[in-house]
């Protein structure tokens, strides 16, 4: 079971250059930023798909962490599966990610995450994705480590 303190990310995140840009507040989850470095590159001039996947995966954990702490629950969960759509190639520049918990059941949580990059005219890019600059979107199911029981879900 993953138990991740709200303000720290594991060694993998540091290796990837991933940090928490905004901690998240209330219903809004954290925004993660992944700085570009040569270790994230894939085909010439582009970010590796595996690096984008790693950011989305890390952001999903941070998002569910935030949500469970908001509910006063100790965040303990492990991933069941991830599905990722790659919408456009990632460039060699900072990449941002933010997630949304679509559902917390008794045993399983579902999280949607988007990763985006800035275009030249978008100075709001580090805050939220805008139309046209989302590079990938993911959906994850995560098994909760304890019954959350915030809502009857008939499981």
């Amino acid at each position: 079971m993953t138990a991740m303190p709200a303000d720290t990310l594991p060694p993998y995140a540091q290796t990837m250059g991933i940090r928490i840009l905004h901690a998240g507040d209330g219903a809004r989850g954290p925004v993660l930023e992944m700085a570009f470095a040569s270790g994230l590159s894939g085909r010439p001039g582009m970010l590796h798909g595996g690096a984008i996947s790693g950011l989305l995966d890390m952001c999903a954990s941070a998002t569910l962490n935030h949500e469970l702490r908001q509910r006063g629950v100790e965040p303990r969960f492990k991933p069941i599966g991830i599905t990722i759509d790659f919408l456009r190639g990632g460039l060699k520049q900072p990449t941002f990610a933010r997630g949304r918990v679509t559902r917390v059941g008794r045993r399983v949580a579902t999280v949607m995450v988007e990763a985006w990059q800035a275009d030249a005219t978008d100075d709001q890019a580090p805050l939220a994705p805008t139309n046209g600059n989302i590079i990938a979107a993911a959906r994850l199911h995560l098994r909760l480590g304890q019954d959350v029981a915030a809502e009857g879900d008939g499981e």
Partner: protein, 164 residues
Amino acid sequence: MMRDASFDPAMMFRAMQGYGHTGLLGLTYVAHGADWAEIAMPFNDALVGDVAAGTMATGAVTGLLDMCCGVAVWTRLGQFRPQATLDLRIDYLRAAHPRTDMAARVTCYRVTRDIAFVRGVAHDGDVADPVAHIAATFMFTGAPIALDKDGRRPGFTGARVAER
């Protein structure tokens, strides 16, 4: 489908060692067949995702699988061709053993004009007892490229992975 079998995954990984995301994850060549490839990711403290469990991050395993998928496509094609991941689905079947080397074995089971279809597993020593399963599709982004005698693209100017 042109198939000159000039693509050598072992040579490619020797050439890519220390470069790009392959270098960051420390990926190495294990084996390949006509339509499959196996790639290893040795245990590395810098890739740990769950410190208490001592296991590498699922994101790192995803990177291993993604790269192995690409290599499986080139192996089936018999040549290097630029491609991008279109989508992937990974099921995490069980936790990996602590502080253990991982490997991916992926088969490319279909190639069309634009798209390659792959499926495979990640394991920690026994391919019959996988840690994760992947199904993915890739889209070709250009024509095949002949690699040079060292297994690199012509004009390769990659920088070695910087220490963080």
